[in-house]
Chain length 459, copies 2
């Protein structure tokens, strides 16, 4: 009799777990069954804005693997099957089959809790009006694309986070007057320091996006069941189309009901092997807690990169490996038209909050040699710790190719480099792709200038 | 009486030394005088192909700082002044003033030897024909641009290295039929492994460049003093314009005559502080030896990045600092039209030659999510050491944004990461700029698959 691995949630984390478990254990040794409550499995939620924009089509392009493809690896996936209860004592889950309108119970030896996250519901009136959508699952993307094809004049996005910025691009690219309403003082508040986020906000406004900051949306107005405007303070901002992008929350109700420990971040608590508090149960992805490498603090992030990495590790561990998930740096990137924005490590505010004696610098650079016609300006904010001289974080805003430089900085931070060591690293240079001092190295130089000379040699 | 710093060579290394020495020591404490034998100081040689192509204009755009700008920092620069002898016992140099046709002697307390490199002379007939140029100093770029403006039909580049590839782009972009004659079996031989260099060569051919490999050019033919063809084996390849790009050699004759130790790489020997073998004399840049971080072996590379870093360190050390130059990874990058090519660390061949138990993998990836229309294919070859599981090197070929990924890999190699640690690093992801597993992480994954599971947890 093979063991059985049951997976709750058929997206990145769950299906990565399935695939990696299968790599180590054949079907004769491990049966793998995944239950997904929606109609979609293994899709790229991050790609939805680009379906809405029309750049990517058909919607199936966003599907990574199909039920049939998983079946070829002897991984069974049931769509429209929702796990509604976990009995950790009996090691069994209760499944509601939304297609067959029936419920049944399945035993497990290993359970992967990978329920993901859901769009945060805004407690405002009018969210059910025609023309109003969240932006989370593929059905949302399909619905919003259909609206875009009707050539609306004005779109309003409620929420100034990453999804808000990406949807602004999608609408702008379709010639729609676009307004983003952000609750905070800037776009991307919290992800970037206030000064840097203000710079980003100004740059996005420069692209033609209206950004209304410091507003909580109170209600949506409609006529004949169709949205017409967004109530914002004492104003009503006209809208033919409204996207609610107020962030996401982890799906932990089922875990809580089953007695799994919920971490202080709000995600399901896991140890460094991604085991939950109860035997045989693992968690991965948006619903799980993770740890910040620099602060050791728990956090709950909803990113495809983390979901894939965690899913992989759970799968390998179910397969008998001894893999540790080392935590995250909070790296994130997005773009809006030709503007790229990225961050990694700690912002200045986060660094101070975590007790570091933080020093921060901001400088302007270019994406290529200054004389190269395609060179674009970019700005870097870099944060270091005064006592250890370690680089702690970086924020980037700039033209094409600026953003991905965050990866080299993430690699430096991950390896606990000092600013003094950083600036001597042998990075690549050709005038069409960077200055002779790549901005990554300049971050080290400018931080070193701010800190003063090191008292020991740089390496 | 202030001390005097004399600098031989007014380009990247020498002038970085000057600038950084000045930062630590004011003019009242340190006089700084630089002698440059040519008419040009502090220029971007790497930018010359883009002046030739017409993308960058005027030539002055390639000048970083002028004599007048240095004068504002109390740094005196004499152009057309060639140092012809160094008396290390008397601590003085003999200078020939090519403008005033006179010679004089200047004493020094610190001497920076930063004479750079020169184009390798090919021992072939016809190099003095009209239409034949090396590609090294700005005068070369000016001359070749003038020829390009005369709309030649056919150009031949002798030499298949980085400069050869960049010049091919410059000519191609001007609608000139372009042939590159490479002595080896591929373009960029040695910089990339043979299999990967073959891939690059095929891709460059795909851009429309004719590449003739395995040929040594024996002579250049002309009519009326003007080049007409390049003799190559038993053929004569027609050419209205010929660029000789057969590499560069360090300018060490003066150092050798002065009794400075020359390293086995052919560059001036230096210690880790960039001191030469004689007191008070430092060396930096193309003329100086450096060390490979992974092999500990000496090498002599001619790259602006190294020149700038070494010049900076010499300047700081003259200023009283205790700065160490940590060595290099041999990182390099170039592009040809939309193709980017980059390398860092050790090739498979170099790794074996250095005694590593090397394992290598090559895989195809995309520069963005596969469904993003602008995603371009890219190939990565990655090399690791079987016993330590450390990543040793990487080679990249691909469309726009592929190449600069080498920096994150260089950072990983610099920090001696294992492939197991590499694949979990929190790098950035958005579908328009990478797959959810950035190819940098995929390098770790594919190498891990090839190595088999690690016996200890990944971190």
């Amino acid at each position: 009799m093979p063991e059985r691995l049951v997976i709750i949630g058929g997206d990145a984390a769950g299906m990565s777990a399935a695939t990696n478990a299968r790599r180590s254990r054949p079907a004769a040794d491990l049966e793998i069954v995944a239950f997904e409550r929606s109609d979609w499995i293994s899709f790229s939620a991050c790609g939805e804005p680009y379906y809405v924009s029309g750049d990517v089509s058909p919607i199936e392009a966003l599907l990574v693997r199909s039920v049939e493809e998983f079946a070829k690896s002897s991984i069974t996936v049931h769509k429209r099957h929702e796990v509604i209860a976990i009995d950790t004592a009996a090691r069994a889950v209760t499944v509601r089959d939304h297609l067959g309108a029936r419920e049944f119970t399945v035993g497990y030896d290993h359970l992967v809790y990978a329920t993901g996250a859901s769009a945060r519901r805004l407690p405002i009136e009018g969210v059910d009006l025609f023309g109003v959508h969240e932006m989370h699952v593929l059905d949302d993307a399909l619905a919003v694309r259909r609206l875009v094809e009707q050539r609306p004049r004005r779109a309003v996005i409620v929420g100034g986070g990453f999804v808000g910025v990406e949807m602004a691009e999608a609408f702008l690219a379709n010639g729609i007057e676009t307004t983003v309403i952000a609750a905070g003082d800037t776009l991307l508040e919290g992800a970037f320091d206030p000064d840097f986020a203000a710079r980003i906000t100004a740059a996005v406004r420069g692209l033609g996006v209206r950004v209304e900051t410091g507003h909580r949306v109170e209600c949506l107005h409609g006529e004949g069941g169709r949205v017409t405007s967004v109530g914002c303070g004492d104003r009503a901002i006209p809208a033919d189309l409204v996207v609610l992008a107020a962030g996401t929350v982890p799906n932990v109700a089922l875990a809580r009901a089953a007695g799994l420990r919920i971490g202080e971040s709000g995600g399901v608590w896991v140890d460094d092997h991604l085991r939950t508090s109860l035997p045989g149960v693992w968690a991965a992805g948006d619903c799980a807690e993770t740890t910040h490498c620099l602060t050791g603090r728990p956090l709950n992030l909803h990113l495809g990169t983390i979901a894939n990495k965690q899913g992989r590790i759970v799968g390998l561990n179910v397969g008998g490996a001894d893999e540790v998930f080392p935590g995250v740096l909070g790296t994130a990137i997005t773009k809006c038209m030709d503007l790229e924005m990225a961050r990694t490590g700690l912002t200045e505010a986060e660094a101070r909050d975590a007790g570091f004696d933080a020093i921060a610098v901001t400088f302007e650079a270019t994406t290529a040699a200054g004389y190269w016609p395609a060179a674009r300006p970019m700005w870097v904010k870099a944060v270091a710790d005064r006592s250890t001289r370690r680089i702690l974080g970086a924020q980037i805003l700039g033209g094409a190719t600026a953003g991905k430089r965050i990866d080299a900085l993430a690699m430096a931070i991950w390896n606990e480099m000092t600013v003094d060591a950083l600036l001597n690293v042998d990075l690549s240079y050709t005038p069409t792709l960077s200055g002779v001092w790549d901005p990554v190295l300049t971050a080290g130089r400018v931080l070193q200038s701010a800190l003063g000379p090191a008292t020991t040699p740089s390496r």
